[in-house]
């Protein structure tokens, strides 16, 4: 479902004397449906960079990144937008939302953009928020006012509201307490069971051993400084 073939990535910093920083070279990996693969490697090894290249917000200089048959390294913006709408999901560490939009609508939004009826979308959002222990009196408030852990859970609810066949998870259990961590790990297991291909970054070792079928050490692809 997710195939990365021999990709490389440089950063060119034009405003710092045009310095070129090679970060990844010759990276390859594959995630089959129903599998969860963890990206490992020390901080700065390029885990997040590789994940952003797959999400498409970082450009890929060479190689191919196939998700559901679309080559993200070469796709037009509208193809990537269509892919993200239906095929490729993402839980990032950052919540970027229009201020003042209620949490429940933030969570329901991916379904709304697919044309799901608003009441159906909100009901699904409510079910997920309940599962993730976000108290109901917060649903009508904007998540910009929430604590770090609550924002993280809103992000997770948004990432699991649609059964994306491919899912990218960037530290989904960071800043969560034991109870909520358990809920998230169960959500990941359920997604695997329905056949999602999941690629994740987990610093939490317990979580990694529990949900990951395999680890890929990204430092193999890092360019020696």
């Amino acid at each position: 479902m997710i195939v990365v073939e021999n990709v490389s990535k440089n950063f060119t910093l034009h405003n710092q004397g045009g310095i070129v920083l090679p970060v990844i070279t010759g990276a390859s990996l594959a995630v089959a449906a129903g599998q969860c693969v963890g990206l490992a490697g020390s901080s700065g090894a390029g885990k997040s960079t590789l994940m952003r290249m797959i999400w498409g917000n970082y450009r890929t200089d060479s190689g191919r990144i196939l998700v559901g048959g679309t080559d993200i390294a070469r796709a037009e913006p509208r193809q990537i937008i269509a892919l993200r709408r239906t095929t490729l999901g993402h839980v990032s560490q950052f919540l970027r939302v229009v201020p003042r939009v209620p949490a429940i609508d933030v969570v329901a939004e991916p379904l709304l953009t697919q044309g799901t009826a608003p009441d159906v979308a909100r009901a699904r959002a409510a079910a997920l928020l309940t599962r993730l222990n976000i108290p109901e009196h917060l649903w009508s408030l904007s998540p910009t006012t929430f604590s770090g852990g609550e924002q993280q859970r809103v992000n997770i609810a948004r990432g699991f509201i649609h059964p994306w066949p491919a899912l990218l998870l960037d530290e989904p259990t960071a800043s969560l307490d034991a109870g909520n961590r358990e809920v998230v790990l169960t959500l990941i297991e359920e997604a695997k069971a329905r056949g999602a291909a999941i690629l994740g970054i987990f610093h939490d070792e317990g979580a990694r051993t529990r949900v990951c079928d395999r680890l890929v050490d990204v430092s193999r692809f890092a360019v020696a400084a």
């Binding site: 405003n15 450009r59 913006p77 269509a82 229009v98 003042r100």
Partner: protein
Amino acid sequence: MTPQTPLLSVRGITRNYGARIGCADVSFDLWPGEVMGIVGESGSGKSTLLSCIAGHLTPDTGSLIYDTRADGPRDVLAMPEPERRMLGRTDWAFVHQNPRDGLRMGVSAGGNVGERLMAVGARHYGDIRAQATDWLERVEIDAGRIDDRPRQFSGGMQQRLQIARNLVTAPRLIFMDEPTGGLDVSVQARLLDLLRGLVRQMGLSAVIVTHDLAVVRLLADRIMVMKDGRVVEAGLTDQVLDDPQHAYTQLLVSSVLQV
């Protein structure tokens, strides 16, 4: 699912002001349902480009192929004037930065919305008023204000009224020039949410000119970065903002103040 014909194909649009470049050789395709942002600093040519595309300025060269409802793709620049004006009243909409440029300040709120309906042939007073009321509510203006003039509205309300006036004829393409420009941030957030909802519900395509990178990140699917009249970089919004390739875009992105 993905459409095969762009709604609008812009090819080689150039407009000079004497010896100075307004915008030079700009080309892009806008697909149905897509929102494109044009960013750049003052004087980068983004407003000139928008005016050329929207028909407020005549470009020196280039073509604008629009996928019309009736006859499919046609060059708008080669259309007879009446046909082009009809397009501007029905299928296209333009939201100005200053609501005063897009509204009739001496006419009631309901009249402002109704006027555009009458321009396309609506004559039944009851129907026009009902539609105007419906649209005021959709843009979150209390229907009780229908007979008030825009002069008595706040800046944010005026901007929402301008949007209602523009969308009442169910256009397919909307041009916006700094739509959140003169508004304070809390009003801006509400307007952004409203615009996002309308774009989604109506399947609108939009071209938005702004210098505010936070606004484009939330509204636009794709962006074009302009400098000195030329497009220096274009692509998926989060890709251009998170991994800018051109020196100017890198400067622009790194110059945003953090709150």
